[in-house]
Amino acid sequence: MNSDIYILLILLLPLLSFLFIGLSGRKLSTGMAVSVGCLTLITTLIFSIAVAFDYFFVKGSVGGVYAPQIVARFEWLRFSPGMSIDLGLIVDPISVMMLLVITCISTMVNIFSIGYMKGEERLKSYYAYLSLFTFSMLGLVLSINIFQMYIFWELVGISSFLLIGFFFNKPSAIAAAKKAFIVTRFADFGFLIGILILGTGAKTFDFLTLIDRLTHPGVALDSLTGSGFLGMSCLTWALILVFMGGAGKSAMFPLHIWLPDAMEGPTPVSALIHAATMVVAGVFLVARLFPIYSISAPEVLQGIAYIGSFTALFSALIACAQTDIKKVLAYSTISQIGFMMFALGVAGWGEGHDEGFTASMFHLFTHAFFKALLFLCAGSVIHAVHSNEMKDMGGLRKSMPITHITFLLACLAIAGIPPFSGFFSKEAILSAAAHGNPPVFYVGLFTSALTSFYMFRLYFSIFWSKPVDAHAHNHEKGQWAMNIPLILLAIGAVLAGLIPFGKYVSATGKAIELPIHVMFSVLPVCLGLGGILVAAFMYKKQNEIPQKVTKLLGNFYEAAYKKFFIDEIYLFLTHKVIFNLIGRPAAWFDRNVVDGMIQRTGSTSVNTSNAIKNLQSGKLQGYTMYFLGGVIVLVVLILIKFL
């Protein structure tokens, strides 16, 4: 059994599926397209389980250390003898873990979509886009080279754009797609500059060489730290810019504004792209370059910790006030990614400090399951109710029992209640933060209490709140395609935490212990339970308390409901400031000076030719007149000269 071939197949199968579905046109029946999409992904899922097994239990561990392995590599662009861009595939703990997450969630979402998107006219393009997305995301995590990663990074952005704007006859969907694309594109600009600075300094784009050169003293490190700009070294700048790309994709404050709007896409897409896989690409990027961050630029890592924790708190507050269930989940996603980010940020290099790295990856892993599950449940609810608004729901627990149970399990997982998966990963993050950076720890603690509050607010609003309608029929009957993924993901959400994660994934590759201290866990768990109780008190039955609380909070609630006016600030900045002060003068200059010069050149020559072309009249007599007139003039001139 050669796992290298499997890895190549894992990457190529979704691409082939995309090309097959995308290029076959009308000849292919919809059912065929759906089965091709699903079967390909099931195959890749099986392959990636095999690869993961092979890596973690058979081949990967060399003397107790999981070392990265280059599976395939060829030179693509050669700039100079020492510097080239290679394409290849890398296998190391985090990429294998991401492989599992991506293929697993992607398969579930593909199957779920059979039921959710039934009757959709452009189902084939939907499946083609899903395959494209899976391909690019797999390529992203398997990249051996920061430039290759950037290529797939953009491909992921494109497929996200296509899927958000899938309902392109809806203006809001188009606007959301554009917004997502522009915001992430803006961030990727920083990423690209960061890549170029790193590449210029280290003379390589290869991850392993890059990490090696930038973590050990040498020419490369000296050249980057030696030169500076605005009081910070080039390396710091490069890493900040790279993180900016990651922040754009991972919706870190202040670049988070696109993610809530991205919920305009089909709900399964939100589950796949905007909850489980693509949005954690930023976390993955920081994790990929973690040695550089932690050894050579700990100050950047600290900044990441503050941004992460602020984002976590900030979006948790917004999530408490939203009424659209997908928006709540979106802000919850931002908040959880904030958790992962600050977990990376509080980690350091070396024994006893790198707990945060493992915790972050662990949370990424468990979060993928329960957040995808939450989104799919929300999709199921939306499918039944035909609305996104909380007020249209309530009392659904009898009509949708499977959704109800799985949603409850996912909520418990995200709230960090033992023994569900979220408990373990969140404990790890909080304990890492407590060791590494106490202020961040307190923010995280408060945020996790908020998390359980808003998740259960959502849960009670959807499934309790109103009295059960006795005559309501069961919405779920016959929806096997939607129920099976829910159940499978619920199993994942419950059990994923029991994996001894520290044994497999760590910053150095050596196994580390993620201890669960009972005394330490008491506080977060109690806070989580408290959040649940408050939510139950306020939302289990329809009552007046929420309104009273709203009134009590007054402006603060209003601000949270309006997402703290971030969108408005951006609109003000872009429309009023940038458009008026920079855009319009630039447009004027372009139209009147640059264009004007070129157009005047053109119009002058056109006018001249129009004037001249009348000489070419096609009238023979005219020509002879010119000729004879010219001859006479010449004769006169000669006579004047010689006589």
Binding site: K613, Q616, S617, G618, K619, L620, Q621, T624, M625, L628
Partner: protein, 104 residues
Amino acid sequence: MEQVPLAHMLILSTILFFIGIYGFFTRRNMITMLMSTELILNSVNINFVAFNRYLYPHQLEGIFFTLFIIAVAASEVSLAVAIIINIYRKFKTIDIEETDTMKY
């Protein structure tokens, strides 16, 4: 013959020449333009013959050139008539003002 000065001979040919030129400029009919061309050629012939006769009587070159011009004029006229007839078939007119498709 010596009573008539050469200059008068040349003036005659010049007048004929410019009458031909004027006709070529103003006539709109291709056949009349052809006639103008014949006048021009004839005036040149007169020039050649007169120069040969008055200034270089020991040579025959003027006569030869006249002969060649007559030959060229004959073939030119036959070709021109063929072209005019062909144009007449295509355009249903031989007015030079209306057959101006060879332009910008």
